[in-house]
């Protein structure tokens, strides 16, 4: 599903965020990406979304080779990926309902389908009563859950979640992780970036550890590696 071959990403300022990364994630896997701040986790997601192009190396997602993909196919790949951005990236001047519905409008979902699907997703993340609010009226954790609903609403093949529990209390964090696990059980490939040591250790999933842009460990049923 996701393949990286000798990928190096150097930002225009000269900062190398990923160095010669090789990675293979199969369809239906559940993978944690861990590593200290600045180790290149978000950069990896940006590459997978083709928000950035690697300086070197090959990336394949859902069968598309990013170095040769036609421009008009880029939206098609992105539609198969649901993303929870680290900074949520909600639309500030639209309601919670519109933020989630927006993801469906983008892929031209019929209106009557949107009217049923969006409330269901908001209920799933526990925000059914906030659908009229604007992002600024929500707490960080609530915004994070809206981002989660938006990522899931189109039933994507791949979910990339960048610290989806970063602003949540332990109870909500566990709920969100259970939700991701449920979705994974239905066949969706799930990649989660997290700093939550307890959850990683408890869930016994594949864990990839990054350090300064290099994969230093990749274990099938791993635990959280404390660098310090």
């Amino acid at each position: 599903m996701i393949e990286l071959e000798n990928v190096t990403m150097t930002y225009p300022g000269g900062m190398t965020a990923l160095k010669d990364v090789n990675l293979n994630i199969e369809k239906g896997e559940f993978v944690f990406i861990v590593g200290s701040s600045g180790s290149g986790k978000t950069t990896l997601f940006k590459l997978l979304l083709k928000e950035l192009n690697p300086t070197e190396g090959k990336i394949r997602v859902a069968g598309y080779d990013y170095s040769t993909i036609k421009k008009n196919m880029i939206p098609k790949v992105r539609r198969r990926i649901g993303v929870v951005f680290q900074n949520f990236r909600l639309l500030k001047d639209r309601t919670i309902y519109e933020n989630v519905a927006f993801a469906q409008r983008v892929i031209q979902t019929p209106a009557r389908f949107i009217r049923r699907r969006v409330p269901a997703m908001l209920t799933l993340v526990g925000l059914a009563d906030k659908y009229k609010s604007y992002p600024r009226e929500l707490s960080g954790g609530e915004q994070q859950r809206v981002a989660m609903a938006r990522a899931l609403v189109n039933n994507p093949d791949i979910i990339l979640a960048d610290e989806p529990t970063g602003n949540l209390d332990p109870k909500n964090s566990i709920d969100i992780m259970n939700l991701l696990e449920d979705i994974n059980k239905r066949g969706t490939t799930v990649v989660v970036v997290t700093h939550n040591k307890e959850i990683v250790n408890e869930m016994k999933k594949r864990v990839i550890t990054l350090k300064k842009g290099v994969i230093i460990s990749d274990e099938k049923q791993g635990g959280y590696i404390d660098e310090d």
Binding site: E51, R78, V83, R89, L91, D93, F102, R105, V106, A111
Partner: protein
């Protein structure tokens, strides 16, 4: 495209205008004034040209024959004139008609004058062909041609009027095209600015849209709708205004200056707007569409 997508994009187009209301109104205002000016120029030019056409048709050239020219020769001359493709009409003026016209133009009581002349028609050798041309600029050519025909004594025309009219006509045409082109460029520039601002304000939103899989079309469409709406409203308003005004002005002029209408026939409201409404709408919507297409292409590249 799905119907709900179409309505969504339409709503977004309106919402773009609402969120960027000041600039939208500014470009709307420019288009309105441009098309208003265009409409005035258009009305003047159309009336001028229709007046010209009428004048051209009344500018007649008289071809006189040699004395006692036989009937066949007169007819032969007629055929040689009629064969020219730029000749509009040709009428034979008999000596009797010539006298009648003369009396009508020069005497207060034409019938009494006619009787006074009796059988002594002073114009018995003044039979002629009265010719009008489709295009006044061909007058000199025609005069030269007719003078060379066998049996023609003289050709009478009014050169000054003809030449003056055709240059004036094209001059007015060029000037108005120039003014309209400049106005359109200003409108395109302003629409483009409005949409650039809209895109800049929504840069983050556009980025998010693209990352969750929006096509370029989906991102561009609301801005293009915005341009089209501004163009359509910007042409509809001046067209309605001009439509109302033209009728009032016509009624006023016709009622007040009866003399003018006897020598100059104005183009009717219906006839003028039959062409002005489609031309105005195409120009307005075209300006909006062009401005937004160019701008979105420039700013929304992936």
């Amino acid at each position: 495209m799905k119907i709900s997508t179409f309505f969504y994009i339409l709503r977004q187009g309106f919402s773009n205008i609402r969120r960027n209301i000041l600039f939208s109104l500014a470009s709307l205002g420019t288009i309105i004034s441009c098309l208003f000016l265009f409409g005035i120029i258009y009305a003047v030019v159309v009336n001028f040209q229709s007046g010209m056409k009428e004048l051209e048709n009344t500018i007649t050239i008289s071809v006189f024959f040699e004395e006692d020219l036989p009937e066949e020769s007169v007819q032969l001359i007629g055929e040689q004139i009629r064969v020219l493709d730029y000749v509009n009409t040709m009428d034979y003026i008999s000596p009797e008609e010539a006298l009648k016209n003369f009396c009508e133009q020069n005497y207060d009581d034409p019938e009494a004058a006619m009787e006074a002349f009796g059988d002594e028609n002073p114009l018995r050798n003044s039979a002629s062909y009265s010719v009008t041309l489709k295009d006044v600029s061909k007058q000199a050519e025609f005069v030269a041609y007719a003078k060379d025909l066998q049996g023609v004594r003289s050709v009478k025309s009014s050169d000054v009027t003809a030449d003056g009219l055709s240059t004036l006509s094209s001059l007015v045409g060029y000037a108005s095209v120039g003014i309209v082109v400049i106005l359109m460029l200003v409108s395109i520039f302003l629409i483009s600015n409005t949409i650039t601002i809209g895109i800049t304000v929504r840069k983050e939103e556009i980025g998010i849209m693209k990352l969750i899989g929006a096509t370029n079309f989906f991102v561009r469409a609301p801005f293009i709708i915005e341009g089209i709406i501004i163009g359509a409203v910007g042409s509809a308003i001046p067209l309605v205004l001009l439509y109302e005004m033209y009728e009032k002005i016509l009624a006023y002029v016709v009622g007040r200056f009866k003399v003018i209408t006897s020598i100059f026939a104005f183009v009717s409201q219906e006839e003028l707007f039959k062409t002005m409404i489609p031309v105005g709408l195409v120009l307005g919507i075209g300006v909006g569409l062009f401005g937004s297409l160019v701008t979105t292409r420039k700013h929304l590249k992936v």
